[in-house]
Symmetry: C2
Subunit: 272 residues, 2 copies
């Protein structure tokens, strides 16, 4: 059932940072593409070694990566995207599919820099690293249905991905792009609560992280509404409803909604 790239498809990464590594390793581990069909380029010798370490060939330049790939994943910081695409442009053709994971860099700009190549924007998040990303994509004007299916296939191997309008990518950034940070804070706070209640720190941290994981998995696997699952664990006059009362008194829901909205707005500002 797993997605596999066509035998001839070659994958290139411009930029060999953490996200590029997470994506490349994930795709190799899941059998989507063998490492020998992947190339990358990066100015850092230590990052080059990391990629060579799992069988990816390192090219001397961004143009060489473009020349040796059909699908080109641009995984550099947003401000470097124009530079790296201009480096690669001599080798970029309309046969290339360019996939940008740079936050806030618009499809129309990507298309203008990519010299006629088809373009898809993706907003992944860092749980890519553990194969559990929550991502969204928006296709450019030249991207085909097959391009969208290919990018969906790639990222489905690394978690889940949805297709949205480009105008919604900042909302995705505000929710799933920035969301892991909210969850990290929640885990730390739950552990602190456990320590306040007397638990040893290591037990509290472990119970907190595992509880968050388990509850999320229940939402995903049961397909039930989270409100229903909440009702099912809240016994009359029990411990759970006592905890819930504290959350509601503090405006816990509004805080999380505000966080998503504020992060989305910040994304809108940054996109100009």
């Amino acid at each position: 059932m797993g997605f596999e790239l066509a035998e001839s498809t070659r994958l290139g990464f411009i930029g060999a940072g953490q996200m590029a590594e997470a994506i490349a390793r994930g795709l190799v581990n899941k059998g989507v593409i063998p490492a020998h069909r992947i190339t990358t380029s990066d100015i850092s010798p230590s990052r080059q070694k990391v990629f060579q370490g799992f069988g990816v060939s390192v090219q001397p330049s961004n143009a060489d990566v473009a020349a040796n790939s059909d699908v080109l994943i641009v995984a550099v910081k947003p401000q470097y995207v124009p530079v790296v695409l201009s480096d690669a442009s001599s080798q970029l053709t309309k046969n290339h599919l360019v996939v940008s994971i740079a936050a806030g860099v618009a499809l129309k700009d990507l298309e203008s820099w990519a010299g006629g190549a088809r373009v898809v924007r993706v907003m992944p998040n860092t749980p890519c690293l553990v194969g559990e990303t929550a991502a969204a994509l928006s296709p450019g004007t030249l991207a085909t249905t097959e391009d969208v299916e290919l990018v969906k296939g790639l990222f489905s191997a690394l978690g889940q991905i949805h297709v949205v309008k480009e105008s919604l990518l900042n909302a995705v950034t505000g929710l799933s792009g920035s969301g892991p940070a909210y969850v990290f804070i929640a885990i730390e706070a739950l552990a602190d609560g456990g320590v306040a209640a007397g638990l040893p720190r290591d037990v509290a941290r472990s119970l907190a992280a595992q509880t968050v994981l388990g509850a999320a998995k229940m939402v995903i696997e049961t397909g039930k509404h989270p409100g229903q699952l909440k009702d099912e664990v809240a016994s009359p006059a029990g411990t759970t409803i006592a905890g819930i009362h504290e959350l509601e008194k503090a405006g816990f829901r509004a805080a999380l909604m505000n966080a998503v909205i504020a992060a989305t707005k910040r994304g809108d500002e940054m996109s100009g």
Copy 2:
């Protein structure tokens, strides 16, 4: 590497509700014990059918379950524990290990009702259902090191389990027992935030649940402090720190700490 019960060990469930089912199914699915070495009893014919449906034999009475098991898991609501143990007591011997998952029922009471059997208390949580429980156990005065290892083995197949002093079991209830409800609310609120920012409901719900899952998995798999992971995703003047600011303004951390503390206190009150 998986835990397996000794070939001769027979497992009995008094009570065939949701938690009993989650535990029994999980143990069978993980190969810890074959279904034909498990028995249960329950007054509800529909619950009997569920257990028979995956190969567990249903006994006419609690005493029959005790007579046909070495390890007896008591999975009824707390108020029914004295009754079911008194039902079973004619067949309970000091060769039995009684494992109670009833919240707030003390070891000393369990031991007095269990007629000389060894007793271990466990506080699991509902993600047992998806194999991701966060649990803790406390051994009674007669329980051996082997008993503790056996119960750890059983619940490790269903998630994770820690050994704590009995006086801390209410803190475990406040954190991991009641914690899934806090996470369900957080997922609903993150999804609401996404909808407020313009995302379709189904995309927002899916991104929210997957983001919570992925972030928790990152904490568990990387072993990094959640505070460090938070720092790593918060770029200068970026979207994430804008979201975090909203959480901190609202006292998000204190709300979660208060929830754990309040639920723990309620557990203390209920334990009398």
